[in-house]
Each structure stands twice: as C-alpha cells, then as structure tokens.
C-alpha cells in the first residue's frame, strides 16, 4: 500500500499501480482528462509506464470555462 494525493485529497493506492490503472479504477475517461504528477505533466502515452509512488501528488484536470 502507498498513499498519494489526488487533486488535494489523500488516497490509498495498491502497490505498483500505474497512473493509467489508477485513472481507470477511479472512473476517469483517460481521453477526457490531463494529468500532472508532482507538478510535472504526464502525457497519455506514458500512463501505462508511470508507476505511482508513495507521496506522489497527482493533479487530474478537465476543460473548464476561462477568460
């Protein structure tokens, strides 16, 4: 087990889970969000390679109105 922060909320994850697996397990459509881990962008093509680590801070964003 490891603990990560997702959009500011603390969550437990299974060991060796990739960001791609985490997104799917959490109900995100990976084609409709973008992510960053510890403030660095993670491209969709890396979702199945990037394994989450204890203490990772994950941001998951979607389109929104803006000025």
């Amino acid at each position: 087990m490891a603990t990560v922060t997702v959009n500011g909320e603390t969550t437990d994850i299974t060991a060796e889970e990739t960001i791609g697996a985490f997104l799917e397990r959490s109900g995100y459509d990976r084609s409709k969000v973008a992510t960053a881990i510890n403030g660095l962008f993670v491209s969709r093509r890396d979702y199945d390679n990037r394994t989450l680590k204890d203490g990772d801070e994950i941001d998951i964003v979607a389109p929104m109105q803006g000025g």
Partner: protein
C-alpha cells in the same frame, strides 16, 4: 472572447456567436470522475467551430504555467496557449520576469505563446525576442472594467512594435473602450467580464463587435492630429458682416 461567468451555457454560446469571435479562451481545472461538466462544456465549445485558446490562469510559477500549458495542449489539441503567470493576488498583475522565462521554455517546446502582460515595453520586447508573435497587454486589471488606464503606454507599444500582433487582453468594460484600443492600432481585443456580466450578453457581444469594426476602420482611415486651439470647420472666406481689423 472569454467563455467564463455567463449566466448559462446557452447564453455563452449565443454571445460568442453574436460577437463573431475568432478565438475563445478556455481553462483547465481539477475534476473528479463523477463530474461531467468539463466534457459537456468542451462539447459545446467544439460545436461553435471557433479556435480555442487555453489559458494558464491561476498559475504563479514558471513550473505551474509550463505544466498547465502541456496539459492544455494534450486536452484541447492545440499548441496555442494564453500564458498567464500571476505575481499578485489582488491585482492579478503578471510576474513579467517569470512570464518571459515560461514563454521561452514553451516556445522551444513548439507552443504558439500568447502572453498576458502589462503595458511595459521592455517586457513586450523580451517576449518577442523569445519568439512570441502576439503580445497581450492589459488595459486594466482583469475583470475590473476600468478600460484603458495607460493609453499613452499602449500607444508607445504600437509605435515601437509595429510588426507584432497586439491584443488588449484585460480590463475592458465598455464597447467604446474596445473601439479606442482599435483606434490606437491594436489588432484585436480580448473581452470576457464586460460581456458575460452585462444584462444581455449576446447584445453586448454584438456591441463590442461593432465597436471593434468601427475602431479598426478609424485607425485604417488615419486619425487627424489633435490641435490645441479651435480651428473653424466652416470656411471663413465670405463671412457676412466681416470687417478687416475688427
């Protein structure tokens, strides 16, 4: 034109169509899997068939702005980015040193960077040197509706940067202020609050569009130079009751 603060998505769509806007700004925000508002909004924007300009609103550091731009590129499928790096929470004044640094990084990564900046000439020159083809100085604080606070500096930007595309980005409150920006020789204006917070956004959007057209035509026609004293427009020759020396 901005896509935020409208009373409803339908009003936003009607206002964007009424303005005939060529570029619509959008943003990124954290979202939980239960929320579908992001994809609904994105579908609505896509149906409008306009070019989108994602922003990095809320970013305070170079690292945040660069990561946000990279996320926006993937999500909105465009390499255009409205680059904002904010230095002060109360005025939302750009941190111009960080802005230039972030612009430099993003341009090297293939982005078309449209930076939101102040009216400072040297910052604008540095942004152009970094590779920005567009510079977007504020008229006044974002959302303040105070118009063009420093017209003289905006005029200087136009005079010193004749080849850059210049867009007044923030602070416009009235259509007349958009016309004024265009009369100064700016290439476009970016408006959100003044339209979205009006009583009738589609009508206000059309008013802004008309003002932009009028201001641009005025600039192209060549404005007369101001004079210090009156100069009669009616011919003086043949004025009745005129006597030499009286």
């Amino acid at each position: 034109m901005g896509s935020a603060l409208y009373p409803s998505p339908d009003v936003m769509r009607d206002a964007i169509e009424a303005a005939g806007a060529e570029l619509v700004t959008v943003a990124l925000r954290r979202q939980s899997p239960q929320q579908a508002s992001g994809s609904r909004f994105w579908e609505l924007i896509r149906e409008l068939n306009v070019r989108v300009l994602p922003n990095t609103a809320g970013c305070r550091t170079v690292k945040e702005a660069v990561a946000t731009a990279q996320m926006a590129r993937e999500l909105f499928e465009t390499n255009w980015i409205k680059l904002e790096v904010i230095g002060d929470d109360y005025t939302l004044q750009p941190d111009t040193a960080a802005l230039v640094e972030a612009a430099d990084i993003l341009i090297k990564e293939g982005f078309e960077v449209l930076p939101y900046t102040t009216e400072d000439l040297i910052t604008a020159q540095k942004l152009i040197d970094a590779g920005c083809r567009v510079v977007m100085p504020w008229g006044s604080y974002i959302g303040s509706g105070r118009g063009l606070v420093n017209k003289f500096a905006l005029q200087t930007l136009r005079a010193r940067l004749p080849d850059a595309t210049l867009i007044v980005d923030a602070g416009l409150g009235k259509p007349s202020e958009a016309a004024h920006a265009m009369e100064l020789g700016f290439d476009a204006v970016l408006v959100n609050s003044a339209i979205a917070l009006s009583a009738d956004p589609p009508t206000m959007a059309e008013a802004f569009a008309n003002a932009v057209e009028a201001g641009r035509a005025g600039y192209e026609a060549g404005l007369m130079s101001p004079r210090d004293m009156a100069s009669p427009s009616t011919p003086t020759l043949g004025t009745p009751f005129w006597h030499a020396g009286t």
